[in-house]
């Protein structure tokens, strides 16, 4: 393996690990949402990243069951 390949593989691994951490702490996954809209509702335009994040956050903090004592 060339050093460039090793570097890009390491970068991939870090990106994957970062993604796992993000999802554990509950960061809304915008890319997945856009992919979903394109795949299942091609006629709809997805929300922008800002709209999506804002909407997810408001939703998360408006119902019981998102956390505990």
């Amino acid at each position: 393996m060339t050093s460039r390949e090793i570097l890009s593989e390491t970068r991939d691994r870090i990106a994957r690990a970062a993604n796992v951490v993000r999802r554990i702490i509950g960061v809304p996954d915008y890319d997945r949402y856009v992919a979903h809209v394109h795949a299942h509702h091609p006629e709809c335009a997805p929300m922008t990243r800002e709209e999506f994040i804002q909407q997810r956050l408001v939703d998360k903090y408006s119902r019981p069951g998102a956390r505990c004592c």
């Binding site: 554990i24 069951g65 004592c69």
Partner: protein, 688 residues
């Protein structure tokens, strides 16, 4: 592995669990290593997971990897998202883990370590983990319905409404008692106030970073946040060493209480991206990090437990909270063994994320075992303190007086030893003015953790930093629960209120937002303020109230679970949920009854009100109460606490009665045995 070998391994694990438990139970008059406690817990968890949760997974629900989950069927890229089970596990654990399992076992250590160990281990295996798993599986089978919806649909409308109102009531008591824990940890501690105070602008900075500077880069913002809060820890130490700053930031209990109320109100009305969300990310990291570090620290140091197996306070004469070991040990430990609140999480976000319904076992049952392990660690940290130090910190001033000498004298009469100069030296060593009567559990837990951490890393010179690190950790995640809880409470109140006055329910109409937030803060703020003024420390009366309400919610969840079992035609397995349900009913009813009608003023709300009324009438005021108005307020609060207890008890009876009726009519055949599950929907096999 051959069958014989496997059976042999499990036999060894079973022997490990029973052996360690026996060693813990039979030890008298000598210190015992924490290793025994860890062995007992881990071996019991392994057995419970392997065998007991298996029955629920395969015999009751018959969880099937081929059955499509709501996340797969309803995938919308937002709520319903099929997710890897380890990620869901982490997410679910971070959502259920809170200050409850840390504080409860610390307080219950007044009975000695044994009652705590037994209830944490047995309670989780047969109760808490069962509840979380059953509700999660039931919700997954019903498109992710919430506990309230399931109560209404499975049991009936009365049970559903009672559950909703009870959830709001429980939130209020929970927020009040957690706020009181923070207040007691921060009052007259300039270091703590500065450190915690700084976490607010740090969170706002992260919010701004995430919104405008580098939108959506949560990990970057969190890394910056973590570096900054460590800086805040040092800033707190620096401020506490400057006489003028130290004086400025030395706040009384009442001022800290007001500050906490103002903060929570602001957090509830400000946009979520600004304060709430960044704080939550930060808190999630700190939470998982500290839990892991504590496990590592305990494994490295294996501290000896100085607390005896049982203290004489099992008879109800304990200073930390009133009441005998039964039922109050079970009420006090709360979340570490079973927590009704988890049923809200198990029927909230988690069921909408499972990609395979068989994951429910690991996520529901498994993460509750982890939570229980956190409770075991908190118990170890508390019992690693010498009993003298533990009681000096956790007994209210009304019992041990306000000087090191009076505290040491009380400890001596209780049969333990405490050198007055030692407790003063210890306070100086952790950078506090005093450690006497710092009730609420947080300071003694922080001291226990600091001892474990500093033994593992940094030595006694680092004790003060570790102590304040632990205080910051507890306060950070309690405040996260407070602000998010206030916001959720506001939405629940708006939802209930809109039936009375429609505009009140408009979530984006500012006057309604401000009004409903103010009402929620006023409700828990009242209990908090009363707790701060209470000469017996407030934790005394509020923590049992919280325990009762939390276990009540668990009773509701287990009733829902039992109904689900019966309607699935699995009535013969209903002992699985009925057993913990019956036990919790006995515990909450006994505790509630004693809190109401005990003739001892220390224990019973009504008896206490009578005593104070008598004192007011005769012109003598109770100790530490200065005016007749204060005394009257105390009486009013006793009646209020009594009314809240009655409300919780009536709720249990209503839900139990409604459930029993439903069970009877299904069992007698008056109602058909029909499950409300979404019908089986197989994953299409490729090539079909």
């Amino acid at each position: 592995m051959s069958k014989v070998l496997r059976a042999g391994v499990w036999l060894l694990v079973a022997l490990g669990a029973t052996g360690a438990l026996a060693r813990l139970a039979l030890t008298r008059g000598e210190t015992i290593s924490a290793a025994w406690l860890l062995t007992a817990a881990v071996c019991s968890y392994a057995i419970a997971y392997r065998f007991y949760s298996k029955i629920i997974a395969s015999k009751v629900f018959a969880l099937d990897a081929k059955r499509r989950t709501p996340a797969v069927r309803l995938d919308d890229g937002r709520d319903f998202v099929p997710t890897n089970r380890w990620i869901v596990f982490g997410h679910h654990f971070a959502a259920i883990a809170g200050p409850g399992p840390l504080v409860g076992p610390t307080l219950a250590a007044q009975f000695g370590y044994l009652p705590g160990v037994i209830w944490i281990i047995v309670g989780v295996a047969l109760g808490g983990a069962v509840q979380d798993f059953v509700i999660l599986a039931a919700s997954v089978r019903r498109n992710g319905k919430s506990l309230g919806q399931m109560a209404r649909e499975e049991i009936g409308p009365v049970a559903g409404l009672t559950a909703l109102v009870a959830i709001l009531g429980i939130m209020i008591v929970l927020l009040a008692v957690l706020a009181l824990v923070v207040v007691n940890a921060l009052k007259s501690s300039p270091w703590g106030i500065v450190t915690i105070g700084l976490t607010i602008p740090i969170a706002m900075l992260m919010g701004i970073y995430l919104r405008w500077i580098r939108p959506g880069r949560v990990l970057e913002a969190s890394a910056i946040g973590i570096v900054l809060i460590i800086g805040a820890l040092y800033a707190g130490r620096w401020a506490s060493e400057q006489p003028t700053l130290a004086a400025m930031f030395t706040m009384s209990g009442t001022s800290v209480a007001i500050a906490v109320m103002v903060y929570s109100f602001m957090a509830s009305v400000l946009p979520v991206w600004f304060l709430l969300a960044p704080r939550d990310y930060l808190s999630a990291f700190v939470k998982i990090g500290v839990v892991a570090a504590l496990a590592l620290g305990i494994l490295i140091t294996l501290p000896p437990l100085h607390m005896p197996a049982l203290t004489q306070f099992t008879d109800g004469s304990g200073p930390v909270f009133a009441g005998k070991v039964f039922p109050f040990a079970f009420i006090t430990i709360a979340c570490g063994a079973i927590s009704g609140f988890h049923a809200l999480v198990s029927s909230g976000t988690t069921p909408k994320m499972l990609e395979n319904e068989q994951d429910a076992r690991m996520i529901g049952y498994g993460s509750m075992l982890m939570e229980s392990f956190v409770a075991v660690m908190a118990l170890i940290a508390a019992c690693a303190l010498t009993p003298g130090v533990y009681f000096a910190i956790n007994a209210p001033a009304g019992v041990i007086g306000t000087t090191a000498a009076s505290a040491a004298e009380w400890v001596r009469t209780a049969g333990f030893t405490l050198n007055p100069s030692d407790i003063e030296a210890l306070a100086r060593q952790v950078g506090e003015k005093t450690l006497l009567s710092r009730t609420g559990g947080a300071p003694s837990l922080a001291l226990g953790m600091a001892q474990i951490f500093s033994n593992a890393l940094g030595g006694s010179a680092a004790l003060a930093l570790w102590y304040h690190f632990a205080i910051m950790f507890e306060a950070l995640f309690i405040l996260t629960t407070l602000d998010a809880g206030t916001r959720v409470g506001r939405f629940m109140l708006q939802d209930l209120g809109r039936h009375i006055w429609e505009p009140f329910g408009r979530v984006s109409w500012y006057p309604a937002v401000v009004l409903s937030s103010a009402i929620i803060v006023a409700m828990w703020g009242h209990f908090l303020y009363q707790g701060v003024l209470d000469p017996l420390g407030g934790i005394n009366s509020l923590w049992p109230l919280f325990g009762i309400s939390n276990q009540l919610l668990a009773t509701v969840a287990l009733c829902v679970g039992t109904t689900v079992f019966i309607k699935m035609g699995k009535a013969k397995y209903s002992f699985i949920t009925l057993l913990p349900c019956a036990w919790l009913t006995i515990v909450t009813m006994t505790a509630g009854w004693e809190k109401l009608f005990s003739p001892e003023a220390k224990l019973g709300f009504l008896a206490h009100a009578k005593v104070v009324e008598g004192q007011v009438a005769s012109g003598a005021l109770p100790a530490a109460i200065k005016t007749v108005t204060d005394a009257r307020r105390m009486i009013f609060n006793d009646y209020l606490d009594a009314a809240v207890t009655v409300f919780f008890m009536v709720s249990v009876v209503v839900i139990l009665a409604a459930s029993l009726r439903e069970w009877m009519s299904v069992m007698r055949g008056a109602k058909p045995v029909v499950s409300t599950e979404v019908p089986f929907d197989a994953i299409p096999v490729p090539g079909d």
